[in-house]
């Protein structure tokens, strides 16, 4: 347990001293919401305000997804400079290292997403306390899922140049497939099939359900899918850390 906390504490301490990373992570979701929301909302049949409400969960997902995966880039950087070795030779179970990285990445992703949460009144989105709690719970689950995705991927990379390129190539399609910006019900069949395989879809749906009160998938199914992704991806990351320098 101490090892797990040490991993989390190390990463958070590093985020705290890296003010540039901290501030840019706070600004990014505001840009997503107001630029994307205003731009696309103007041409939406839902109107600017209606569309902002509709894409709000999508913007939350976008912020959580990119923040969580890019928090995992620290693993690649640490491997590249040799710092990861110092962590890997510590007497900490590999699952604690993987889980610690997943949780620290999730916390780092939740920090900017919290800014979006604070902006709810500005968007004239009045959520009752149970709905707000539901939204926060969904955000936490989404953050852990996306962080697990980032950690499982980053654990295999050795180059900080390649990792962002590959991540972007994967993350953007995942985001666009998820129905974050449009209703999946109106999408072509092939897109709906692909969306079923995308964890972002379930995360967006849980958050949208909390905000708008209606879900495209049964919430229990979404919870189970996200939990399954978390377990599988954390297991994959654990295996890579257990292999040490053999990866």
């Amino acid at each position: 347990m101490r090892g797990l906390l040490a991993v989390i504490l190390l990463d958070l301490k590093r985020l705290w001293v890296d003010r540039v990373r901290l501030i840019s992570s706070l600004i990014q979701p505001l840009l997503y919401l107001f630029v994307l929301g205003s731009g696309l909302g103007a041409s939406s049949t839902l109107g600017r305000s209606g569309y902002l409400h509709y894409i709000y969960p999508g913007v939350l997902a976008l912020s959580l997804l990119f923040s969580a995966v890019f928090a995992a880039m620290l693993i690649v950087f640490d491997r590249q400079i040799g710092f990861l070795k110092a962590v890997l030779v510590a007497p900490v179970p590999r699952v604690a290292i993987a889980l610690g990285k997943v949780l620290s990445g999730a916390i780092q992703a939740l920090v900017p997403a919290t800014i979006l949460l604070v902006l709810l009144p500005l968007l004239h989105l009045d959520l009752a306390p149970p709905a707000l709690l539901e939204l926060i719970g969904s955000m936490i689950l989404a953050a852990v899922t996306f962080s697990a995705l980032g950690v499982a991927t980053a654990a295999r990379f050795r180059s900080t140049t390649v990792f962002p390129i590959i991540s972007n190539a994967v993350l953007l399609p995942m985001f666009f497939l998820s129905g974050a910006l449009y209703p999946l019900g109106d999408a072509p069949t092939w897109l709906r099939v692909l969306a079923h395989l995308d964890p972002v879809t379930y995360a967006v749906d849980l958050m949208r359900g909390a905000v708008l009160g209606h879900w495209a998938y049964p919430p229990l199914l979404s919870l189970a899918v996200l939990a399954g992704f978390i377990v599988a991806l954390t297991w994959l990351a654990t295996r890579v850390f257990a292999a040490g320098e053999d990866t």
């Binding site: 101490r2 090892g3 906390l5 040490a6 991993v7 504490l9 190390l10 301490k13 590093r14 001293v17 890296d18 400079i81 040799g82 710092f83 070795k85 110092a86 962590v87 890997l88 030779v89 510590a90 007497p91 900490v92 179970p93 292999a243 040490g244 320098e245 053999d246």
Partner: protein, 319 residues
């Protein structure tokens, strides 16, 4: 030093695809011993080091360190070893104190104990003045001492050093090795890898490694005795031509950066004979006791310097 093994490797092999990096390593290091693994770059030192330090799995063979299997009992073993890596392993943006404090938490120490331990190490290693400084703002020598402090956080029984003083100036190296001697004096065991003979020289025993195999193992004096005589160094106006002439006259010269090296049973007697007969102008001639470099040269026909040592290092004082 006692004769209980701190570390035992048996028939260790490591393959990376077609590359056979370790080819059957058998080794025992005793508790309280300072043991050096000496060899040129690419000899397999870091691979062997990484297996013993739980970072790599061997392709074949086994290794026990402090009584623990280095593959199956890794977590238990990691509690008892400390490692100073070749590359820096500090978080540059965190202070020296925070680096040590966090490593204490990684070793399972409660926060208060980790804080006390960090303070002790800072004081012992003369780092108190830079405790609040970002690790990235330290000098090379200070960074190495912080790395050593980091490795000592868990109060290890065995310390691994992988080319630990690479790139340091003479004073920084001297300070670093003084700390290592203090650690060994306190009953600790040290396993170090290096490709500099002056770093290996103070070790109780040295294993010479090349191309994944241990070529020789013994005390520095045992190894030097294997040369069986003394060494002549000849620098001439044309070393290539001189080497041909020497070979034609029953000698076995080996080229080196400083000239031709010849191992002779009676070097003092051989030198005037050679100088008198050599049909080339001699620029310099030296006779010296065999060094570990000469042992390596005799065993492999190559010098340790084949790994290209930085010139500043060669002038360095012995640790």
């Amino acid at each position: 030093m006692n004769d209980t093994p701190a570390l035992e490797a048996s028939a260790l092999h490591k393959r990376y695809g077609a590359v056979h990096a370790l080819r059957g390593i058998d080794l025992a290091v005793w508790r309280g011993e300072m043991f050096a693994l000496l060899g040129p770059n690419g000899a397999g030192k870091t691979t062997l080091f990484s297996i013993l330090a739980t970072l790599l799995k061997p392709s074949e063979g086994s290794a026990r360190v402090l009584g623990h299997d280095a593959v199956r009992e890794r977590v238990a073993l990691r509690r008892r070893i400390g490692i100073v890596f070749q590359e820096p392993a500090l978080e540059g943006k965190l202070s020296v104190r925070d680096n040590l404090l966090l490593m204490g938490l990684f070793y399972g120490l409660p926060l208060r104990v980790a804080r006390t331990r960090a303070g002790e190490l800072l004081q012992t290693l003369g780092l108190s003045e830079v405790a609040a400084r970002e690790a990235q703002k330290l000098s090379g020598g200070q960074k190495r001492r912080v790395e050593l402090a980091r490795a000592l956080v868990g109060q290890p029984d065995l310390l691994f050093l992988d080319e630990a003083t690479l790139g340091l100036d003479v004073d920084a190296r001297r300070l670093f090795w003084a700390e290592i001697r203090r650690y060994v004096g306190g009953g600790g065991t040290v396993f170090l890898t290096t490709h500099y003979m002056d770093e290996a020289e103070p070790a109780d025993r040295i294993a010479l490694i090349d191309r994944g195999q241990i070529l020789a193992l013994g005390t520095p004096q045992d190894l030097k005795n294997q040369v069986g005589g003394g060494v002549l160094l000849l620098a001439t106006a044309d070393d290539a031509q001189a080497a041909d002439w020497l070979r034609a006259h029953g000698h076995a010269p080996e080229p080196s950066a400083r000239g031709l090296l010849l191992v002779e049973r009676e070097p003092a007697a051989a030198l005037p004979r050679i100088l008198g007969a050599l049909p080339l102008r001699t620029l310099r001639a030296e006779v010296h006791e065999p060094s570990l470099e000469d042992v390596f040269l005799k065993l492999t026909g190559r010098t340790l310097e084949d790994g290209a040592a930085p010139p500043a290092r060669r002038a360095g004082a012995r640790p």
